[in-house]
Amino acid sequence: MSSEIEVEDVWFSYSGDNYVLKGIDLDIEEGEFLAIIGRNGSGKSTLMRLLIGLLKPTKGRVIVRGKDTRSERVSEIAREVGFIFQSPDDQLFCRSVEEEIAFGLRNLGLGDDEIAEIVERTLRDFALQDVRGVYPRFLSRGDKQKVSVAAIAAMDPKILILDEPTTGQDHRDSRAIMELVKGLNERGKTIILVTHDMRNVAAYAERTILLEDGRILADAPTRRLFAKGELLRRCGLAPPQITELARSCASMGIRPDVISVKEMEEELGRVLRIHVPIHREGKVPP
């Protein structure tokens, strides 16, 4: 494993005095699935913009796969890091799903044959064949988000940053997007997920960074961080309901760091010796 992104003592200010980020140190390894959480205004969006080179550190440096964002062009960094916007409407502008996927590939300077081949493969991987000719804006919100992930993934960046990819989506769509992202991670992509959805953080991210007032307050395995309910609440966050239940039962022998319904069922099986079937959340089709 090697470092994909190194953030070294990064300070950032929009105005020259008030620092939005205050000494961020962060090492992200290849293949990680990392979540960045924190209240509104904690510095998440600024940090994200620094990671894709849109903003340059006021002090310190950001190295993306060996490239210093202060000296590299944004387009160079963009080959390494794909960024998926919160609102797919900010990202989609072509006349068809197919063209949307081909657009970035043309910008990379690929030949027509290669582009056609990648477009086909991506349409297949993301199950978008049926809507290939459709104007993206006519798609449902969930499908639009799927197209924006597909268009970025087609360019094959090593790192994907997703800014609140599931906001305002229903459970089915949210789950579908997260499963796609999980698949990309399993194929070796480094994933950085910025979100307020603590259930998705619990279900998908192995490591979580907690930002508060421009500083990293915690950098830990997600499970360990979520067991600290007080810390999360102090930072404007809250663990999933099932973790709250486990914590409230901790004095009765339940592990306090449970992060999913399935784990809670396993805990009950262990402590009460009752057998509970595999939980049904997984039955909602992806």
Partner: protein
């Protein structure tokens, strides 16, 4: 009890659309009810909200069949201005709602339009800023605020007009978890002070704790309605729609499927904890201590 809202046989089609979005909605909301509306994306939730303050049909045009009554009066017979005094809506996208260049003006806007004295406007603005916890933003331009702050400004501006019915249409989707809880608490406070609340959201855990009634909107119709406990016990129908149940409900239903009696379905953390204790959790600890 009188009805705050009566929706009868409501069909609606947007001007350029081919199909009806609402396809026969029947819904009665009692005075002082806290109604949660759940439904998959595209089921017509926002459209239904727009029917409550007359944006449909007065502003949006299109084809509307059936009737919406607010406090017994048909929305067709009232103007949007008249309706907005009774029904306040906070939408998902605050940018669609914020129009002035300072947070104070934003909250004062509706009040000035009603001819309140500057002194009174000042007093109400002050109270709303404090209540929502955004006094520090008073001089800022709403457009320069973060997504979460904008949501709060839109909520403050809505409650400033003292509407009897307050509709939150996915108004918490840009907020961090504690702010989401704050908005739910605020809605509960408003509810306790006698307001009728309509809350459209995907936050089932928080809704289960607060709502007096839940309606499931699917494909332009009300598919299910009732108190939270009875609605959340309909696992198959909700899963079919791709909707999620509160995590403690998922757990309890799992326990129930194994033949363990769960009695009353738990819908909060405390209730779930009580159920686990009934099932014997903590019994060893009690014995050891006792």
């Amino acid at each position: 009890m009188g009805y705050a809202i009566e929706v009868s046989g409501l069909w609606y089609k947007y001007p350029t659309a081919k199909d009806f979005v609402l396809r026969g909605v029947d819904l009665r909301v009692g005075l002082g009810e806290f109604l949660g509306i759940l439904g998959p994306t595209g089921s017509g939730k926002t459209t239904l909200c727009m029917c409550l303050n007359g944006l449909i049909p007065h502003y949006a045009g299109g084809e509307m069949i059936g009737e919406v009554k607010i406090f017994g009066k048909s929305t067709r017979a009232k103007t949007i201005a008249e309706l907005s005094k009774r029904v306040g809506i906070v939408f998902q996208d605050p940018d669609s709602q914020l129009i002035t260049s300072s947070v104070e003006d934003e909250i004062a806007f509706g009040l000035r339009n009603r001819g309140l004295s500057e002194e009174e406007v000042g007093r109400v603005v002050e109270e709303c800023l404090r209540r929502i916890g955004i006094s520090h933003l008073r001089g800022r331009a709403p457009q320069t605020c973060s997504g979460g702050e904008k949501q709060k400004i839109a909520i403050a501006a809505t409650i400033a007009g003292r509407p009897d019915i307050i509709v939150f249409d996915e108004a918490t989707s840009d907020l961090d978890p504690i702010s989401v809880r704050d908005v739910f608490s605020l809605a509960s406070e408003l509810h306790e002070s006698g307001k009728t609340i309509i809350f459209v959201t995907h936050e089932v855990e928080l809704l289960a704790e607060r709502a007096t009634k839940i309606a499931i909107l699917a494909d332009g119709r009300i598919l299910l309605e009732g108190d939270p406990r009875s609605v959340f016990s309909r696992l198959e129908e909700l899963e079919e729609l791709g909707l999620r149940l509160p995590q403690v409900v998922q757990l309890a239903l799992g326990i129930g499927r194994m033949g363990h009696a769960i009695g009353r379905l738990p819908i909060t953390v405390e209730e779930a904890r009580d159920l686990l204790i009934e099932l014997g959790l903590g019994a060893d600890e009690l014995r050891n201590r006792g």
